[in-house]
Amino acid sequence: MKRAHILVFLAPAVIVYTVIMVLPLFATLQLSLFRDGGFVGLQNFRTLFGDTRWSASFWNALGNNLWFFIVHMLVQNPIGILLAALLSSPRLRGAAFYRTAIFVPTILSFVVVGFIWKLILSPIWGIAPGMLDAVGLKSLFSPWLGKEGSALTTLALISVWQFVGIPMMLIYAALLSIPDEVLEAAEMDGVTGWSQFWKIKLPLILPSIGIISILTFVGNFNAFDLIYVAQGALAGPNFSTDILGTFFYRTFFGFQLQLGDPNMGATIATVMFGIILAVVCVYLFAIQTRLRRYQF
């Protein structure tokens, strides 16, 4: 074996990755095929999608999760791009301060962020009603986190507030990598201001926007912490903020009167894995390959 050394050098990484990533993943897949210690094939999946109560919970969580993702795509990423565009303007003073200030929430703990916003929005001791009252808009206030219609969107916006710094930073870096001479050439050609952003800068940062979209998707479909901290494992009111992460948590570990069910939990985890895998594959093979990367 002339090439044995390749195996030797690969071994540490492969072994560590296998032990902490691959084996647990397969253990989960395996767990989803068993019930009460016996192999049942796809029975658990049939229960999840066929049983009316299970499937209602599942589709509710999936739908909520999708909305959670849509809010991020429509609010977080456009605002991130806008902030990056403003930051990269040479006329802006104090850019370093804004950059840091907007990025700071990203390093805060979910627990802190969830708790702070619960306090801010609380109708009893929160400062939101008082602040709206001060500008004469008290009538607009409602206990957003406590109403079924608005709780999920409110939580999504809190998450946007926390993480808008990440797309901002990625886009900012992409904008800085556009050479000055290209932008000067655009100035000479009369492509200035917003037109320059749409026609020159945006096409050049499109690959970064693609990466941000897929990161947002994976992050949102694995989300759990913020909902758990702000609304508890029951994802109230009346499961209106239940996403796949919280649904999985209640099922696997049990909560209050509900007993933990590792097999059904593993089934949900497997479905989550499948959804994320499918979307990432579509992105990698269908979209990423069509996005051009530019060398300047």
Binding site: P179, V182, E184, A185, A186, E187, D189, G190, T192, S195
Partner: protein, 333 residues
Amino acid sequence: MHALEIRNLRKTFGSVEVIPGADLAVEPGEFCVFVGPSGCGKSTLLRMIAGLEEPTSGDILIGGQRVNDLPPAKREIAMVFQSYALYPHLTVAGNLGLALKQAGTPRAEVEAAVKRAASMLALEPLLQRRPAELSGGQRQRVAIGRAIVRRPKLFLFDEPLSNLDAALRGQTRIELARLHRELGATMIYVTHDQVEAMTLADRIVVLNAGRIAQIGSPMELYNRPANRFVAGFIGSPSMNFLAAERSGLTPPAGAVELGIRPEHIALADHGIPARVTHVERLGHETLVHTDGEAGHITLRLVGEHDLPVDQPVHLRPDPARAHWFGPDGNRCD
């Protein structure tokens, strides 16, 4: 009316004065080259004309109209950048047509203009390619084409050949000269390469530390440099400078230094004593480096010469081609 006029133009960056005050007029159809060592302010001057840099004071007039407060696109100028600065996401056709499209020109007209420019530069087979799929020389031609399409009053070139290899540079130089004849346009060209300056220019503006050292035709600069800086900068190998009393010639009143080009100095039986330190044989000419009491002197001899290193020689400058400079560095006759 001048194609371009600059009146007392100044530029400071903080406390650094880059251009302490420049006056210049360029006539229509002229090929004007700004040349000077790096950091002499030639690019800053060009960028102020383009509108990419704001002057600290002074006026810029293009075609008789003051353009200080106009944005670059409204000045009816086009610029070719050193890095070409093509739009990487657009095809060659898209790159060529963007300025016209942005100005709201009808589609058919844009296409016709793109086609005309493409045929001038032999770009037709490349119109659907993107810049990444082009060679350096092709990218350069697209950059020039992008300028032509706009039919500007004034072309600005910022060291457009520096990123090309030597062979392509020579070829593109001839191409640019042809283009200038065909278009009859006014062109301003910045370079640090004196060969480009000498071969392309109708008039050369030599800049030194932000000041205009001399303006003149290439041969004027070569034959009658106004000062020691221009004398040393134009010509390669550069001019020899000797103290007047060691030159073996009679200096005019007030002259302290003799400048003599390597091609205007010959080997002789009597004259300035020196010793050969190095010989460079190029076939059509031989460059002889010597050292002596008068300092380092370079000779350019036509044809092949076999001179051993360390051989003592005598040098005689041609008095008809002598340049004399006063203590202030200015020419004195």
